[in-house]
Each structure stands twice: as structure tokens, then as C-alpha cells.
């Protein structure tokens, strides 16, 4: 999608609260926005390196827990009388720590699991997410287990000379999520158009050939995993401070599936794909809720996923963008690689 279309989209997202005042819909948009950030980070792995990580929610959840615990403080017995005590820090520190720690977990998981590919990689990532969920459920001293962490403070931003701004209202949170989403979009866009991005696509297209021309596989994939996990952690932190209560259900496998659906329906390997797919699938439940019971909504969800894979296997954006004249014009070096990559692997 070209620059003008991107800016128009951004302008539309900025103007939304001006014409949409229904708090229920605004709430749906905020949670959808948080999940779109997660989906964008998943797209970096799935769409640009070809690695289907089905444990992505682990980084989201780790971000949520790190951020919540940093701003709430904790007192955890380790061995005997030895305790680790942490006094509450401001939520913005939690946000930064969430990114760093999730990114570090991404590094660890990447180093360990990129030695296997395909179905095995998928299963390792699922297992990682489930182990993290079980730890969150059972380490009650730290996480309160199923009782949940409650009263998580809202994010506070210190403005020089103006005091502190507590982001409590839906409107404020909407713009916070939008800002983080726009920054993540920019970061991912810069990355995939850099030489690292070309190395990732090269690996996805033909790993043997990529290795032969000197691309460091582990380094490239690990870098993608770190950034992807860091962004997912940021999304988790936003989630924790917006919803203000988290329990181990934040690690539910179905949330990973939601992100995968957003990426695949929008178009993996397309920057705008997760945003378009995310808006559609994030808001679908809002429209389905009045007309059918929850079970039927999920049946529809599963059915729509299957239908998209049968009918639009490349996703909405890569299929529709050329028809609307929005495909990237030939220009930079990256642009020459992109259409071929999209054609063969979308």
C-alpha cells in the first residue's frame, strides 16, 4: 500500500472518536487495536520469515504480567526466609520493562526453537505458551493464580512543566493505543525494507540458497523473534493497564488463533494486512453478538477462517490492492523484491 493510502488510513483512525461516541464501540475498538498490534508483531514472523508461531500470546501475556507486577509491586518467597520484594514503580516503567523482558523471552525461544522448522516449530511454540500459562496459574505468590491481579493502575505520562496525565478515559486510551500501533507499524515497515528484511524474505523463499549467499539464518530469525516478541509485550502491557485486571486466561490459545486469523485474512507478508484483517475480525463479534449466541459466534469464526483459506488464500490486501491500484510502485531496492515475494508466498 502506498504512502498516501497509509496516511489516509491514519487520518481516518485519528478522526474516529470525533464521529463515534458510543462507549461500547470505542471499547471494542481499543481492545481490537491492542490485538492488531499483536497481530502486526505476529505478521513479522509469519509473513516475513515464514515461521508460524502459535505461542505468540505468551509474549503478550508476559508483557501484561511484567507490566502489571512492576506497577503493583510484589513480595515473593523464594527459599525459606529469602524473599524478593519489589515496591511499585510507575506504570510507564512497567511498559518499558514489558517490552524488554518479552523481547528477551523472544530471544530465548528463538535461539531454542529455530533449530526445528515447520510443524515442529509450531508445536514448540504452543508448548512454550502453555508452560507459561501453567506457571502463571500455579505460582500463586507472584501472580495470584486464578484470583487474578486486580487494581492495575492506568498508564501515567509525565509532561515536563505540566505535571502528570493519567490515561483513564476511553478516549485517552484510544489515542495511546493508536500511537503505539503507529510506532509499531513504522518500526516493522522500516525493518522489512532494510537489508535485514531482505534477508528474512530470502530465508523464507529459499533457505538453502540464502545460506549459500551468506545470510546468517539464526541471527536473522532471532532478530525477527526479538522485535516481534517486544512489540507483542508492548501490546500486552497496554492491555493490562487498560483492562486493569489480568488472570492466566490472558494466555488462552484462542487469542493466538485470533491474531493468526487477523494476519491470514488480511494477508500475511503485507504490512497493511493485519490492520485490515484486525479491524474486520476484531469488530466481527460486535456485530455477531446481538444476532447469535456465543457458541454460534465461535462456529462462525472457525467457518470464516476455513472459508478465507479456501477462497482468498493470499488474504484480502494482496488480493484487492492491485485491483484498487494501491500496490507499491517500483522504486527502492526493497520494492523490487516485494511483489515477487508476495506472489510466491502470500
Amino acid at each position: 500500500m502506498n504512502r498516501i493510502a497509509t496516511l489516509i488510513c491514519l487520518a481516518v483512525f485519528i478522526s474516529v472518536p470525533l464521529w463515534l461516541t458510543d462507549p461500547y464501540l470505542l471499547n471494542a475498538l481499543i481492545t481490537t487495536g491492542i490485538f492488531i498490534i499483536g497481530a502486526m508483531s505476529l505478521n513479522l514472523l509469519l509473513g516475513f520469515t515464514g515461521q508460524l508461531s502459535l505461542g505468540h500470546i505468551a509474549f503478550f501475556g508476559i508483557g501484561a504480567y511484567v507490566s502489571a507486577l512492576t506497577s503493583l509491586g510484589f513480595d515473593v518467597p523464594i527459599v525459606g526466609d529469602f524473599h524478593i520484594v519489589h515496591v511499585p514503580w510507575p506504570p510507564i516503567a512497567g511498559f518499558v520493562l514489558a517490552i524488554l523482558i518479552s523481547g528477551f523471552c523472544g530471544y530465548l525461544v528463538g535461539r531454542l526453537s529455530f533449530s526445528v522448522r515447520g510443524a515442529y516449530f509450531v508445536i514448540v511454540t504452543i508448548s512454550f505458551a502453555e508452560v507459561v500459562r501453567l506457571v502463571a496459574l500455579n505460582w500463586v505468590e507472584l501472580t495470584q493464580g486464578p484470583l487474578a491481579l486486580t487494581n492495575i493502575p492506568s498508564i501515567t505520562i509525565g509532561l515536563p512543566g505540566l505535571g502528570y496525565l493519567v490515561l483513564k478515559t476511553k478516549l485517552q486510551n484510544y489515542y495511546l493505543v493508536l500511537a503505539v500501533a503507529a510506532l509499531s507499524y513504522l518500526l516493522i515497515s522500516r525493518l522489512v525494507h532494510s537489508h535485514y528484511g531482505r534477508a528474512m524474505r530470502g530465508l523464507m523463499e529459499n533457505e538453502t540458497l540464502a545460506v549459500a549467499v551468506g545470510i546468517d539464518v539464526t541471527k536473522t530469525l532471532t532478530l525477527a523473534a526479538i522485535i516481534s516478541a517486544g512489540i507483542a509485550g508492548a501490546a500486552g502491557s497496554l492491555y493490562a493497564h487498560y483492562i486493569r485486571i489480568i488472570d492466566p486466561d490472558v494466555f488462552a490459545f484462542i487469542s493466538t488463533v485470533t491474531m493468526v486469523i487477523m494476519v491470514v485474512s488480511g494477508g500475511k507478508g503485507s504490512l497493511a494486512g493485519p490492520v485490515i484483517g484486525g479491524v474486520i475480525f476484531g469488530l466481527l463479534p460486535v456485530f455477531l453478538r446481538p444476532i447469535m449466541p456465543p457458541e454460534a459466534q465461535w462456529i462462525t469464526y472457525g467457518g470464516v477462517l476455513i472459508a478465507i483459506l479456501f477462497v482468498l488464500p493470499r488474504g484480502i490486501v494482496p488480493t484487492l490492492a492491485p485491483l484498487l491500484g494501491l500496490s507499491r510502485k517500483p522504486g527502492g531496492a526493497a520494492a523490487k523484491v516485494a511483489p515477487r515475494a508476495a506472489e510466491e508466498h502470500a
Binding site: 522448522r117 515442529y120 501453567l134 457458541e295 462456529i299 477462517l305 479456501f310 488464500p313
Partner: protein, 290 residues
């Protein structure tokens, strides 16, 4: 010592059904290269078929078991023909996502039809367990072990002694060559998926009466099946049987001596450890990974 003996007996009972789950998945995974996320739903389906046949149709418990297996076989064949056959030749990620979609839809369907409240299936065995010295085991669990063992032997004979089994093994080795030799690969795939599904349904039908049944019971079963397959090596039937018993042992010992909260973490830890240290599985022939 008495506690250890009791854990070993429990391992035997649990391991038998785990092996059934593992064989079903390893066949589908190995022969079709499909990561079957509906395996857990088939397990749930088998358990609910027991409930329907015993409680709603009033049929004898022992007759309900084969009926549940046949129902699982039919559902598996239907999934294969409707969803996987049109996708022959697509990459593994696409089929995987389609199977995830099918799993979500079917599990929500189960929740819609049967409700979220856990149900239990009556069985004709006496309540008093069989006590042998320090160990006690219920008659129902003994029956489950015997039935599982019988089904494992039947599956083994089917794969190693029949014409269909030979076609399945040939397709596993090289589906192009098998097709050239006159094997109808498409029907081998359908049969494989149906047989794998019926084994999952059998495991559910056997364990359903032991525990309670609810629509999400298959999720953990599916993960355990993946753990068993990875432990035993892709497409390796004997490996799946041994893997089933190893997982059961790890769970029993983990729950008994570490913490019961981490009982279900054992499967995941095994998966991660095996894939990091020996990605071909413990008993694999030199097979390609990925």
C-alpha cells in the same frame, strides 16, 4: 514403596489410552503430513458418543464402545473428504490453519449441543476396587486397560498385516512412487484419517467414563497426543505406544512427587526437551524433521 507401586499401576491404565491417542495422531501426521488439530475434538466426540448411546439410547455399555469408534471413523472420513481433499498440495501451514478453524467450529458446536456442564457416564462395573496388597485399582480402569491393549493390537495388525496397511506404509515412505505402483493415494489418506480419528474417539470413549466429560476435554488430550508423537518419532507406531507410557509415567510421578498443579505441564516440557535435544524423537529411524 506402596505409593510408587500405585503410581506404576495408574501409569499402565493411563498409558494404554495415551498410546491409542498417539497412534492415531502419528498415523495422520506421518502419512499425510497434516498437523491434526481436530484430534482432541474427536476424543471429545468419542466420549459424548458413549454418553448418548448409553444414556439417551439406553444401549448396553459394551455395545456403546464399538458404536462410538464407528462414529469417530465416519466423522474423520467426513472431515478428510470435505476439508483436506480440496487442499491436497497446499503447504502444511494452510492445512494446519484449516484444521484449527475446524477445531474451533466443532468444539463450539459441542458446547452448543451438549452445554458446558460436565457429565458422567455410568458403567456396569462394581464400585469397590480390586485390592492387591498395597495397590488398588478399579474394575473400570482394568477394563479400559484391556480394551486399549486390544485396540493397539488391532491397529498394529491392520498396519502390518493387511493390504490397506501395506498401502499406508508405502505412501508414508514415498507417496509419488506409491501412486505410480497403483496405490490410490487419495483413498489411503481418507482411510488413514478415518482410522486415526476412530482411535482418538476410542480413547475418549474409554477415558470418558473414568473421568467426567465436557466439551473442552479434548484440548489437553490433543496436546498430549502431540507430545507422544514427538517423543516416539514421526509415523512410528511402536514409538507412539512407548511414548504414551512414558508420558503417563512422567505425569504420574510429576503429580505424585512434585505438584499436582504441574501434572499437565509434563507433556509440554517433554515436547520442548525432546525438540531441543533430540528433534527426531527417541525412537525415530533417520527421518527428516520439518
Amino acid at each position: 514403596m506402596a505409593q510408587l507401586l500405585q503410581h506404576l499401576v495408574n501409569t499402565l491404565v493411563l498409558g494404554g489410552t495415551y498410546a491409542l491417542l498417539g497412534i492415531g495422531l502419528t498415523l495422520i501426521f506421518g502419512i499425510m503430513n497434516v498437523v491434526n488439530f481436530t484430534h482432541g475434538v474427536l476424543y471429545t466426540f468419542g466420549a459424548y458418543m458413549m454418553f448418548i448411546v448409553v444414556h439417551q439410547l439406553g444401549v448396553n455399555f459394551f455395545l456403546a464402545l464399538p458404536l462410538a469408534i464407528v462414529a469417530g471413523w465416519l466423522l474423520g472420513a467426513a472431515i478428510e473428504i470435505l476439508l483436506l481433499r480440496p487442499l491436497r498440495g497446499s503447504d502444511i501451514d494452510t492445512t494446519m490453519l484449516v484444521m484449527i478453524g475446524a477445531w474451533i467450529a466443532m468444539q463450539s458446536g459441542a458446547l452448543w449441543i451438549w452445554g458446558g456442564v460436565a457429565k458422567s457416564v455410568n458403567n456396569p462395573f462394581p464400585d469397590a476396587p480390586l485390592v492387591l496388597g498395597p495397590v488398588s485399582v478399579s474394575w473400570l480402569r482394568l477394563f479400559v486397560l484391556a480394551a486399549a491393549a486390544l485396540l493397539i493390537v488391532i491397529a498394529y495388525l491392520l498396519i502390518n498385516r493387511t493390504k490397506l496397511g501395506r498401502a499406508m506404509r508405502a505412501t508414508f515412505q514415498d507417496h509419488d512412487t506409491a501412486a505410480l505402483m497403483g496405490v490410490n493415494v487419495s483413498w489411503v489418506y481418507t482411510s488413514t484419517f478415518a482410522i486415526g480419528s476412530s482411535l482418538a474417539a476410542a480413547a475418549g470413549a474409554l477415558l470418558g467414563p473414568v473421568y467426567v466429560i465436557f466439551p473442552q476435554m479434548g484440548d489437553l488430550a490433543a496436546v498430549k497426543a502431540f507430545a507422544i508423537v514427538i517423543l516416539g518419532g514421526l509415523g512410528n507406531i511402536t514409538g507412539a505406544v512407548i511414548g504414551g507410557f512414558i508420558l503417563a509415567l512422567a505425569e504420574e510421578l510429576g503429580a505424585g512427587y512434585v505438584s499436582s498443579g504441574y501434572r499437565d505441564a509434563m507433556g509440554f516440557l517433554i515436547i520442548i526437551a525432546v525438540l531441543i535435544f533430540k528433534p527426531t524423537g527417541l525412537f525415530a529411524r533417520a527421518e527428516r524433521v520439518g
